[in-house]
């Protein structure tokens, strides 16, 4: 019962996060590239309900902020003019021109609503977080599909046909497993052009992460296939003249499903982290397109690390996502039994 509640919570959390990433265009108050150069490292905007005269407003409002020193360190609210929060405002793009669609939140100029503050170029952290989630979460999912797909195919072939093919595939799997994973990832990344457009970089990153890690799932799948191949009902089907394709599709593949699901729940967070790590080190998706990794890269400067807590938000956002995925993996493993470890 307790386990079921945890799985429910985990699934709900994951659904929320992915839905938020999907609806980033609507939920984000600003375009991810829109800069407010006058407000670098602005702290999260405070929502007020009670104005300077002590009157209560049901609709929350914000004050415009400014930094009289100009150094971006001592922002002060201008309490003379409240700006009520507006809902379902028309969207504008990074240059301020109107685009199609609506946004959930907005506020009249010159006030700004930065619920999670701004980065060094005055870009809204919340908007970048939501748009960056698309990149980081999608990279994890796509890379998992790729690595599990390839691992499943090679593992099934090795386990089903055995002999020479098995030996070749498993020796090359050992080759891939002999390297520390991140070093291998870096070595492959080194083989790719350094300065590429963000969209290309994203695809390359997914390819690299997905293709480098096929060996572990392949070995696990091979083990399951090896034992499934010798079951009596498979032998019986073979005796009736079933083709290899039919045997794999009807009798072998379903056996590997539990393992694949458990592995997926374990691999997705690992690959999200791989994207974040590579982008953090400047080898992944590059500026100005936001990803959780390149947003965190700002923390490499000590004054950002120590002074602006809201720059940590992408890193903190990873924690609940990982917790949810691991809870899911645990539950799947328990359901699939000890064989799916």
């Amino acid at each position: 019962m307790k386990g079921r509640l945890a799985v429910g919570l985990a699934l709900a959390a994951l659904a929320t996060v992915h839905l938020a990433a999907l609806c980033a265009g609507f939920l984000a108050p600003y375009a991810p590239l829109e800069q407010t150069r006058a407000l670098p490292y602005a702290p999260p905007t405070r929502l007020h309900f009670v104005d300077a005269e002590g009157r209560f407003h049901l609709r929350p409002f914000v004050y415009a902020i400014a930094d009289p020193s100009g150094a971006g360190e001592a922002y002060q609210e201008d309490r003379r003019q409240p700006y009520p929060l507006r809902f379902l405002v028309p969207a504008v793009d990074a240059t301020g021109a109107a685009t199609t669609g609506k946004r959930l939140l907005g506020v009249d100029e010159p006030a700004r609503v930065f619920l999670l503050g701004t980065d060094g170029l005055g870009r809204d952290q919340l908007s970048r977080l939501l748009h960056g989630a698309r990149i980081s979460l999608l990279a994890g999912l796509l890379a998992t599909v790729l690595s599990l797909g390839l691992g499943w195919l090679l593992g099934t072939l090795a386990g089903f046909y055995g002999h020479g093919l098995d030996a070749v595939l498993m020796r090359s799997a050992e080759l891939f497993l002999a390297l520390p994973w991140l070093y291998l990832l870096f070595a492959v990344r080194a083989a790719l052009p350094l300065h590429i457009a963000p969209a290309q970089a994203f695809l390359l990153l997914v390819l690299v992460i997905g293709l480098v890690d096929w060996a572990r799932p392949a070995r696990l799948v091979r083990g399951v296939v090896l034992s499934a191949r010798e079951r009596s009902y498979v032998l019986a089907a073979r005796g009736f003249g079933a083709s290899d394709f039919h045997l794999i599709r009807r009798h072998i593949a379903p056996q590997t499903l539990g393992l694949l699901l458990t592995q997926a729940a374990l691999l997705v967070p690992q690959y999200i982290l791989a994207e974040v790590t590579l982008s953090f080190l400047g080898l992944g998706v590059s500026e100005p397109v936001p990803s959780w990794g390149n947003m965190l890269a700002a923390l490499q400067r000590y004054h950002v690390l120590t002074s602006y807590w809201w720059m940590w938000v992408p890193g903190l956002a990873l924690v609940p996502v990982f917790l949810a995925y691991y809870a899911l993996a645990e539950a799947l493993r328990r359901r699939a039994g000890p064989a799916a470890l």
């Binding site: 002999a178 070093y183 974040v276 609940p320």
Partner: protein
């Protein structure tokens, strides 16, 4: 002994395979170290061509690989264009630093994980079980990157620990004891990050394997003989659980080495990680190859150590070997 020799032989073959694989991979990369110079109008294409042929970059792949193998024999491991010298002398001090870091972290992580996991295994279903389960699950979900950045923040904010690097300025002039203390204080931050990263997984594995042996019939028999619980744990269950744990030891090294790549870069520890990153960004082909191979070598050495330990602790394997 034959078992160890066989494993060492396999390791060498694997190393050769990895070197070919990475050589081919890196060769696929578009552009080389001199590609950036092409943009400089002051350098003539003929000069670039001459530079390439001087360093043998215009040769076919197999010839370059053989040349590289030849330079391996002299300990040079190819030529770094960015540093203008052979890779070997650059690589070994870095590999030593990574070894210092990961070895310390491995020893500490295991020294903590084994007692903690064993204790946890004896406390099934109590509050200790729940607390440890929650704690390890949370720690598992904190990404390595956030962990090391958080520790760095702590170090910078409080000033208790040096925030990066391996030694202080003037380390050469220090006396031996003083120098070691300086090194140790620099080790605390990266080692803590590595240990905290590895601990949840290790503790969970130790708990699982000790719990399994505690359910075994021979433990029940020992209990029936009235042997105290602590003695059962230390003398009967732990040695029996050692086999899967030592196998895990080899695997845990791979994880620690991977994580130390990131930790080294963030805390500016002068190990293999920063060298590799620098080499990738400079397109310095042979300098990329060096850290990758050195990390493989470290991993293989660790696995060999695990094998030797297994041989020393498990009589079943010894009799197989004879």
């Amino acid at each position: 002994m034959t078992r160890l020799a066989r494993r060492a032989g396999q390791g060498l073959l694997l190393l050769a395979g990895v070197s070919v694989l990475s050589f081919v991979l890196i060769d696929l990369a578009p552009g080389d170290f001199f590609a950036e110079m092409r943009l400089d109008p002051r350098i003539e294409p003929a000069t670039l061509q001459a530079l390439r042929s001087r360093y043998g970059l215009d040769r076919p792949l197999p010839e370059r690989y053989l040349r590289w193998l030849g330079s391996l024999a002299t300990g040079e491991l190819g030529y770094s264009f960015a540093y203008g010298g052979p890779v070997g002398p650059l690589l070994w001090p870095r590999a030593r630093n990574t070894l210092v870091l990961t070895a310390t972290a491995t020893v500490l992580a295991w020294a903590l994980a084994v007692p903690l996991g064993a204790w946890w295994a004896t406390r099934r279903g109590g509050p200790v079980d729940a607390v440890l389960a929650g704690l390890t699950a949370t720690l598992l979900a904190v990404p390595d990157l956030v962990l090391v950045l958080g520790l760095l923040l702590l170090a910078v904010r409080t000033g208790w620990l040096p925030a990066g690097g391996m030694v202080s300025v003037g380390h050469e002039q220090m006396l031996w004891g003083e120098g070691m203390r300086d090194l140790a204080s620099h080790l605390v931050l990266p080692v803590t990050a590595l240990v905290l990263g590895a601990l949840p997984v290790l503790t969970r594995y130790v708990r699982a394997s000790v719990a399994e042996t505690l359910r075994a019939p021979f433990v029940r028999a020992a209990r029936a003989h009235g042997i105290p619980e602590l003695r059962i744990l230390l003398h009967h269950a732990l040695p029996a659980a050692a086999n899967p744990l030592i196998s895990l030891f080899g695997l845990s090294l791979a994880g620690l080495l991977s994580m130390s790549l990131l930790v080294e870069v963030v805390t500016s520890w002068p190990g293999l990680g920063p060298l590799l990153l620098e080499a990738i960004l400079a397109r310095d082909v042979y300098l990329v190859l060096g850290p990758v191979l050195a990390s493989t070598l470290l991993l293989l050495a660790g696995n060999l150590l695990a094998d030797a330990l297994l041989l020393a602790t498990d009589p079943r394997i010894r009799s197989e070997d004879a």
